[in-house]
Symmetry: D2
Subunit: 307 residues, 4 copies
Amino acid sequence: MADRLHNWGRWGSGDEIGTANFITPDTIAAAATLVRRGAVFSCAIPFEARGPRYPTRLPPQHLMKRSGADYAAGHPTYGTMPDGGMKFADDYLFAALQCSTQWDALSHAWYGDTLYNGVPETEIRSTGAARLGIEKLYQHFVGRGVLLDLPRAMNGGERLAQGYAISDADLDIAVRAARTEVRRGDILLIRTGHVPWFYTLADEREFWKGAPGLGRSTVPWLHAREVAAVAMDNVAIEVQPPEGADQGLPLHGLLLRDLGLTLGELFDLEALAADCAADGVYEFLFVGQPLRIPGAVGSPINPLAIK
Amino acid sequence: MADRLHNWGRWGSGDEIGTANFITPDTIAAAATLVRRGAVFSCAIPFEARGPRYPTRLPPQHLMKRSGADYAAGHPTYGTMPDGGMKFADDYLFAALQCSTQWDALSHAWYGDTLYNGVPETEIRSTGAARLGIEKLYQHFVGRGVLLDLPRAMNGGERLAQGYAISDADLDIAVRAARTEVRRGDILLIRTGHVPWFYTLADEREFWKGAPGLGRSTVPWLHAREVAAVAMDNVAIEVQPPEGADQGLPLHGLLLRDLGLTLGELFDLEALAADCAADGVYEFLFVGQPLRIPGAVGSPINPLAIK
Amino acid sequence: MADRLHNWGRWGSGDEIGTANFITPDTIAAAATLVRRGAVFSCAIPFEARGPRYPTRLPPQHLMKRSGADYAAGHPTYGTMPDGGMKFADDYLFAALQCSTQWDALSHAWYGDTLYNGVPETEIRSTGAARLGIEKLYQHFVGRGVLLDLPRAMNGGERLAQGYAISDADLDIAVRAARTEVRRGDILLIRTGHVPWFYTLADEREFWKGAPGLGRSTVPWLHAREVAAVAMDNVAIEVQPPEGADQGLPLHGLLLRDLGLTLGELFDLEALAADCAADGVYEFLFVGQPLRIPGAVGSPINPLAIK
Amino acid sequence: MADRLHNWGRWGSGDEIGTANFITPDTIAAAATLVRRGAVFSCAIPFEARGPRYPTRLPPQHLMKRSGADYAAGHPTYGTMPDGGMKFADDYLFAALQCSTQWDALSHAWYGDTLYNGVPETEIRSTGAARLGIEKLYQHFVGRGVLLDLPRAMNGGERLAQGYAISDADLDIAVRAARTEVRRGDILLIRTGHVPWFYTLADEREFWKGAPGLGRSTVPWLHAREVAAVAMDNVAIEVQPPEGADQGLPLHGLLLRDLGLTLGELFDLEALAADCAADGVYEFLFVGQPLRIPGAVGSPINPLAIK
């Protein structure tokens, strides 16, 4: 790893949470002071079948075990109180953990035969991720969130084009437009406008022809600023197709594996961005905790920005 | 409904979120000021097969679509960069939405043929809850959390006994012990010690013989204090078996249906309670947002208390 | 029902299997004598994600709970014998019961508020089909199978065109070409060539623009011949779009509901048809039993024709 | 393998179906002549949550996507014909493929790092069994079935005791009682009475304390008689606990891996056995085909015995 930007060993040979280590009680307490109006903005798309879900994953399937219609059709009540007994609706879900707004765990992606911090790939088995599972982050990510609104900052308000590789210079422009700075422990929300565009399309196949996303020059930029996590309103964080000649998702390797930097995908930043543009405040308390699923390599989330 | 304690119509005939309406931007902003140390406490049990899950529900099943072991066994990489190409682990989940730490939506329980605010039960079908779905609460529950630690306050530190019906007087004792008051818009976390006891048992069947929980006298107490939500470390909020002669879960009817008060179950309050006992502070910022699943009648959650 | 072709009450008011009643021990014993060469032809398409599955249904998802790769990665063996202990692979399936080669149960489709034989629709609930479930047919369909090869008999060997409504006259042509007759208790396999065409398409959306299938004139034809079941190599048995002005699937009503005639879909009849064309024998022992799933409204099957 | 009883290479180095190779068109044609009365006996237990399912597997979960109750509650019809439009019930299943009456594929169990016929365990991955999948047997098992009724033949009609190791001598007794012989290509159904006993128990934990099943001496017996498959009304074929000092399931290794002999479990042989005792005929046409699921290591089945 000597020739690479990396955080292996930075927090000890047994560390499993990478850049989440940049979040401390002090950074959390400071982030809470950013709540001024008590306005809450969810950054989640609806968790449903229709959506910009990676084509290799099934859409989520929500099924009712029991419904109100069953009781209307004669299903017996439970007990006798009140008024003849109780009635309960109940449901199940079958879903890819990364089918909607999500975190990628550090166990989600790698290259070579080791994951972040040298964990052998053989520790990620059918039983789940013995190390680097999403549950290791179950009390994260609470902290200072910063929105970098690239469409407004550098694209005349228009969504970024498919295949556009965001550069470190682009991020600097957005930081300046946000009239703030990026600090250690921040959760960066980078808006492209790409995910909302999906819902406007008559032919969904257009969407998959490419995506705006991070280019290679952003890797040292993120590393130098010691951000805790990066989340975007695209499907795979990095530009698609990737820079250079071949396919693949190389920044997943450079960010998740080498830096141990957790990635969030399929965010919807429209409402938050509109509010930041209106009041000029691009920093907020961010709370985006995963479900506490042992051994999972990702988690559905409903991340909140609180201003 | 004239003879009952209820909130039907209080926020209009079309309201779908009930007592969550007590949460306002002001209450949220005030709650954020309760973050002093930046200490985060998750109130979630592990989302896994072993747990005090209601016996009628299946345990969650986490399955890997692809793992590190597959790549070690020869599965081809994706792309060529870096170093031979990327590798991805991916997973699926099949789960009852209420198999672990959860919110019950207002569409989860009722009696008669209407749910909260007069919604006909026929609107809860196999397609999900057309109204009162959990997604209506997707930017809730952020607010002031208050822990009422009943074991410490009134039971010598011991978990409450199975079948113990918590009274309004018990809640008053715990409020006094917390040296604070309950305010409109609060999310009340009421500790019994029951869920953690599950994990100590050699024979799980002991656990299901009964549970401590809320008794009927707490209903007007909660109504009068205008709490936004109640969550507990038991399985069904109310005492089991219920007070009075018959089986059933009548308080689900009085709370969810009549008051429109969202209920949280299978919380783990041990770490939070120990911290509150240590620093004497029983109020905190609470963030327990559901997943944004349209039409769901509950949601798995990972609720956080931030002090 | 007086104005309709129907079988309600024909086998008693409590009957739940409809035209399967035409199958008797005598017809089964006679069918067994049709096995001459001991050649077995499966009529199942592969039960996998890629296939002409009705677009409203999810593709099946096969997931491994444990695999050989896990053991290669270090998963412990079970016991010590032989040679260090046993190893087991295990798997799960999440699937729509009608996502592949299937029977539609009599509880699958109806119109008005009653199903076959007057069963109220309110008996088909989230708990499943209290009556008319597929499990009622768990010792069916064993009997004489007859292949009607429409492409060879009347279309120059070409698959039937999308939107082609098969008439009773077409079926007569195919029966004559088969040089046999249709008898009471038969399971009719009607070939169109439509399902195999799916697999040749570069753009799957072509497939869903229409389908050849049964037209209305076949209903009295099937009724008069007292067939036990009809199965086809299309997705919905009947022509799509349907004859007449409106959309819908009216023959499901006339066949499943009124006649109580079980329907099989997504069959693959290519290998069987080639063999019948080669040896001129269009009758065989057919064994197409459903899984014994209580309350299911359909079942995946692997139907066999044995010559 | 030189020191073991095995069939590796017997049907070529690329063979994937093992002893199923003993079934030929001739044996199938001869088996069909065994159908005299046209009586059909399913050997499947109900595919439902309650059953003698191996405790490590989840119970199957059958869920309705749409039901009759939904339509009664106002769900819109499809089309307008007949009589206002069609109505459809539809369902999903989440199940371990081996949760009920099943075949174990040759990819289900092994020892060392190779499966039957030297297939490396690394070919069984999250993507399924690249070789030895159950789909390779999709036109099997059709052939002569023989019932060996051990309770009637050697136990006074009583079910065999838990922990009873069936010997080759026991099998000989049952063959003599059946007044027939075992031939190459047969599918042997061996009755113990164990699975039906499950349903009589008030406390299911009794069931898991042990099981009657095959002992080691039956391995050369089965090998010598060139049977195509063995199926039993127990959960794991072999005696539990196993003979000798340690736990484990060694006969799975000797039978599935070394002989390539497919195993069937969780059969219900009660009705068939009663009929065989009544008419003295213990041979029949057996049809027990798996679902055509590519890469699966087992399959739910509904096996039929036809007399």
